[in-house]
């Protein structure tokens, strides 16, 4: 146990000193504070009469003892009697009894001595000998640097023997999502609830760590990320897993128990914020103080790992309980992640940035403990809020309401075609969807990384180049990632606020870490322009459109690339897929704002959008719309030629299968009736056509979908009750305004187009504008169509008492399809998007 320690004189002495006598000789046992030698030093003292000012300085010589700062056996002196020493330096070696390498609560864990005693003989306290805390579940057990190195070498050896790496796993929103909204508990008990299936696998536990009466004994609901069990099981053969969470100790242990009931995966390697020692960031050095060469992190936030970015694999946050976010994140700065879905609107994340607040408080001279206390209270109140306000319940209620209204609309509009009387309970939509596949990618990446690491290690080993150094996993990770987007030059538009340093921004760092070059301006080198579809900037967008090779993509593309570690096909993410897409988006909005459009209308809509209109319908369209027949006919032909949607080829069920049983006869009747009654329909169509053709002739198929669907729309909206009528024209007007805006934006491109296209467009825009004026007046005027409507409504009311079973099923199908479209946005817009590229 004994260890030789060199002891210095220390800088508290009044140098120069003269060694007078050595009191102990080598081999003697010395104790702390024993006098080891005598020395003398000279100094000047003011003597004389200070009152009269009659003073002079006189040299004094003082003799003093020098005492041992530690226990042990004296090994050797490095000073001699009579030597004059000018400055601090080593003076002797001591074989220490105990070097106090492990300490627990101020006690040396090896010799049991109290380390906190202050001692006049020693310059530093003994507690400073063991400054490193590296145990997961304790902060008061500390070790010395050498001991830390030793135990880490052992760990490294063990890992290399079993060919593993260390993996530090974050809990919240990475592998699980937790929520304390009691609504979840109610849903779990209620099989009739639409979310029952989703919350079936939610695990619960009760925690008693809230200081407030309300949060005390509250239930935590834990949803594991889909496929987590298998993921961890397989990953644990390659990695030794550690849990590192910002939750409390009790929380972390309970979650670990949920995720890993047999403690096989994590064992006791769980660290929480109670042991972290820092409320705002995580650090690998807390667990691996010496070397992080073999450690990989998976976390949904990179900002909490300020010093360990190279080792971090960023995971797309898991959001199962919508709007809840991370219940343990209130200490952390607000997430500044652009690639994640919309920020939560309620629940815990609403507060002021704690870090900022902290800074403010510090500036105000507040105690840090006080701040922490404040934040604790803040978190508590946030949790309370979640319990009281039940954000999930509100969400579901909203969804139910929407459904209900959609239901009403359906019943009202469809009773002409419905013939059955039984009314099944309305299909409620669930707000909780369990559709996450991040772990699949993650497993792939981790496997890849593990393989790369050990290939590298074996190579080094075979060359015998391996000494103490093992390959650095951070470096390998960088190499792997840098391959992903190598050669890409990416510019951002509307993604970051102006005046921010894009190279330092989170997204910028991520882009460069994946090997792409980041460009602040659009030039001809740029290969991709990433556009934030929520707020597209125009300058860069226009600049980029001048270069045909620049692919203009949405942020989703970037997110997907980051998730998959692959340069994914841009086609589904192209920003200018076609204008039909925009139209569809508006239409959906419209549907929402005006009670979700009626069922048959949706049927036609979706079929048109997907370019899958069954032939009979199409021919009827031609028949009933003689005025449009020429345009649409051409379009329809092209449609059939080469633009069948992917979905069909992939063998999926057609989303309009439900339409097979649809009563086309009644729809046609209505159509005919409508056409006889008004001219609104026409002008709308023209507008759409005009807008579509601006871009390119290749857009024709998309155009077809938009134009015919919008005609359906106008028909449907006319047919709706006067209540819904008042809603729809407004949104349509808005859409028209949008069109105008786009038109202006695109004028640049117009010059490049062929002259026939131009002519057609001009013609149409003329037509369109005149009609638009007329249109804008129309909704407020009593038109013959309204009268027709009212007559029809009488019939509808009668039919409201019974609902058609078929209609129900159909509606369900359509809703599902719509949901799918929203998720995998853009699949159906592929063809049009390619067309855009060519142009």
């Amino acid at each position: 146990m004994g260890k030789t320690k060199t002891i210095r004189l220390g800088n508290r002495l009044r140098y120069p000193i003269t060694i007078v006598r050595l009191l102990k000789s080598p081999g003697d046992t010395v104790k702390k504070q024993d006098a080891l030698m005598e020395y003398s030093f000279k100094w000047y003292k003011e003597v004389g009469d200070t009152i009269r000012g009659d003073t002079w300085e006189e040299e004094q010589t003082t003799f003093a003892d020098w005492c041992s700062p530690s226990d042990g056996t004296l090994k050797s002196w490095s000073i001699k009697e009579g030597q004059v020493i000018k400055q601090d330096g080593p003076c002797l070696m001591i074989d220490e009894d105990c070097s106090h390498e492990i300490q627990f609560q101020g006690l040396c864990a090896i010799c049991g001595k109290d380390m906190t005693e202050a001692n006049w003989a020693a310059e530093t306290r003994d507690t400073e000998r063991a400054p490193i805390s590296m145990v997961h579940d304790q902060t008061n057990l500390t070790v010395s640097t050498t001991h830390a190195q030793k135990s880490e070498r052992e760990l490294q050896k063990r890992l290399l023997e079993s060919r593993k790496l260390s993996l530090v796993v974050d809990l919240d929103q990475t592998v699980i999502q937790a929520c304390i909204d009691p609504t979840v508990g109610e849903w779990m008990k209620d099989p009739t609830n639409p979310n029952y299936d989703s919350v079936k696998n939610v695990k619960t536990f009760q925690l008693d760590d809230g200081p407030h009466a309300l949060v005390r004994k509250c239930w935590y609901y834990i949803k594991m990320r889909p496929g987590l069990e298998g993921f961890l099981r397989r990953i644990s053969t390659m990695y030794e897993l550690h849990v590192y969470t910002m939750g409390t100790r009790a929380y972390a242990q309970n979650v670990a128990r949920v995720v890993d009931p047999e403690k096989k995966l994590f064992g006791n390697r769980v660290i929480s914020r109670d042991e972290n020692g820092n409320m705002y960031s995580k650090s690998l050095q807390r667990l691996f103080p010496v070397s992080t060469n073999m450690v990989v992190i998976i976390d949904d936030r990179s900002d909490v790992w300020p010093h360990n970015r190279p080792n971090l694999i960023k995971v797309t946050p898991y959001e199962f309980f919508k709007g809840i976010g991370d219940i343990n994140a209130s200490f952390l700065p607000k997430r500044q992640d652009l690639l994640t879905s919309a920020p939560s609107t309620n629940g815990v994340k609403k507060e002021e940035k704690p870090a900022e607040k902290n800074a403010k408080a510090v500036a105000a001279g507040k105690d840090t403990d006080e701040v922490t206390q404040e934040q604790l209270e803040e978190q508590q109140s946030a949790l309370e809020k979640q319990i009281n306000e039940r954000p999930l319940q509100l969400l579901q209620e909203k969804q139910d309401k929407e459904d209900e209204e959609a239901e009403k609309a359906t019943v009202q509009s469809d009773d002409s075609s419905s013939s059955r009387s039984s009314s099944p309970p309305p299909q409620r939509h669930k707000v909780l969807l369990d559709d996450d596949n991040e772990l699949e990618f993650l497993e792939k990446h981790l496997t890849q990384l593990h393989k790369a690491y050990y290939t590298n290690y074996d190579q080094k080993k075979s060359k015998r180049a391996i000494g103490e150094d093992v390959p650095d996993v951070g470096q390998l990770l960088d190499n792997l990632k840098a391959k992903v987007l190598r050669g890409y030059q990416i510019a951002l538009s509307g993604v970051l606020p102006q005046n921010t340093d894009i190279y330092r921004s989170e997204i910028g760092q991520q882009i460069t870490s994946f090997g792409a070059k980041l460009r602040s301006t659009v030039s001809k080198d740029v290969t991709h322009l990433v556009v934030n579809s929520a707020q597209p900037g125009t300058a860069k967008l226009n600049a980029a459109r001048r270069y045909p090779h620049i692919k203009i993509v949405g942020l989703e593309w970037l997110a997907q690339c980051f998730a998959e570690w692959a340069a994914v096909d841009e086609t589904p993410y192209l920003y200018f897929k076609d204008d039909a897409k925009n139209v569809a988006a508006t239409r959906q909005e419209q549907g929402d704002s005006s009670d979700e459009s009626d069922e048959e209308m949706q049927g036609v809509e979706s079929s048109n959008n997907l370019l899958k209109t069954p032939p009979p319908k199409r021919s009827k369209l031609k028949l009933t719309l003689p005025g449009k027949a020429e345009d649409d006919g051409d379009v329809a032909d092209e449609d059939e030629d080469g633009l069948l949607p992917d979905e069909v080829e992939e063998g999926q069920m057609s989303p309009i299968d439900g339409l097979k049983t649809f009563n086309w006869g009644s729809a046609d009747d209505e159509l005919a009736e409508f056409l006889a009654s008004g001219s609104d329909d026409d002008d709308d169509d023209e507008d759409m056509d005009e807008e579509d053709e601006e871009d390119d002739q290749d857009f024709a198929p998309a155009e077809e979908s938009s134009s015919s669907s919008s005609s359906e729309d106008s028909r449907a909206s006319l047919k709706r009750k006067s209540r819904s009528r008042s809603g729809s024209p407004v949104t349509r007007k808005r859409k028209l305004d949008d069109d105008d805006g786009e038109e202006e934006g695109k004028e640049e491109e117009d010059g490049e187009e062929s002259s026939p296209a131009k002519r057609i467009r001009r013609m149409k825009s003329q037509r369109g504008s005149s009609l638009r004026n007329q249109y804008e007046v129309a909704p407020d005027l009593p038109t013959p169509a309204v009268t027709g409507d009212e007559v029809e409504e009488g019939g509808e009311d009668k039919g409201e008492n019974y609902t058609d079973l078929d209609e129900e099923a159909l509606e369900a199908d359509l809703e599902a399809e719509f949901a799918a479209m929203e998720n995998g946005e853009g699949e159906w817009g592929n063809e049009a998007g390619e067309g855009e590229d060519k142009g």
Binding site: A109, T116, R158, N268
Partner: protein
């Protein structure tokens, strides 16, 4: 080591409790306040009986009544060199923690016999000699205390198990 110790304490009683069974109330309050606490030098395990209950004195200003109560309690004071039976609570690469009643004791790997080594691959991690001895959370261990430190209302100890008759207790 356990002692029967005569102690004295001042108990405050709220005016709403003034009445016939005040003595009883004072005793109850004493038990509630004192049992299970650590004074820094020893733990008060249980109160045997009370005696010398003084007359109540109303404190000016608050209206509370102050009683001085003498009581006899069983206290436990751990000593350096004392051997205690403990239950292991957690194990790590530097050693293991064990609880002797209210006292948390750390046994470092230096003070564990050489043949008992740390096995990180076991679930949960344990100290074992790969035959009969396994120290993991829940194991009963006999420990000799080699170091003690007292804080305000708390005590910490360092122990060892390399010595005769120390270590894992076979149930």
């Amino acid at each position: 080591m356990f002692f029967l110790h005569n102690l004295e304490r001042r108990v405050l009683l709220h005016p709403s409790y003034f009445g016939k069974n005040m003595t009883e109330l004072v005793t109850t309050k004493l038990v509630k306040d004192v049992e299970g606490t650590c004074t820094g030098d020893y733990y008060i395990i249980a109160i045997m009986d009370t005696f010398d209950l003084s007359e109540g004195r109303i404190l000016p200003g608050s209206g509370m009544a102050e009683f001085t109560v003498g009581y006899r309690a069983v206290v436990w004071r751990p000593f350096k060199g004392e051997v205690v039976d403990t239950i292991c609570t957690s194990v790590n690469q530097h050693g293991f923690f064990a609880n002797a009643g209210p006292l948390s004791i750390f046994v470092s790997s230096h003070l564990i016999p050489d043949e008992i080594t740390y096995d990180a691959n076991a679930t949960p991690p344990q100290y074992t000699n790969h035959s009969d001895i396994v120290i993991e959370p829940g194991t009963h261990v006999r420990i000799k205390i080699i170091g003690l430190r007292t804080g305000v209302g708390e005590m910490f100890a360092i122990g060892k198990i390399d010595g005769d008759y120390l270590g894992c207790l076979q149930a």
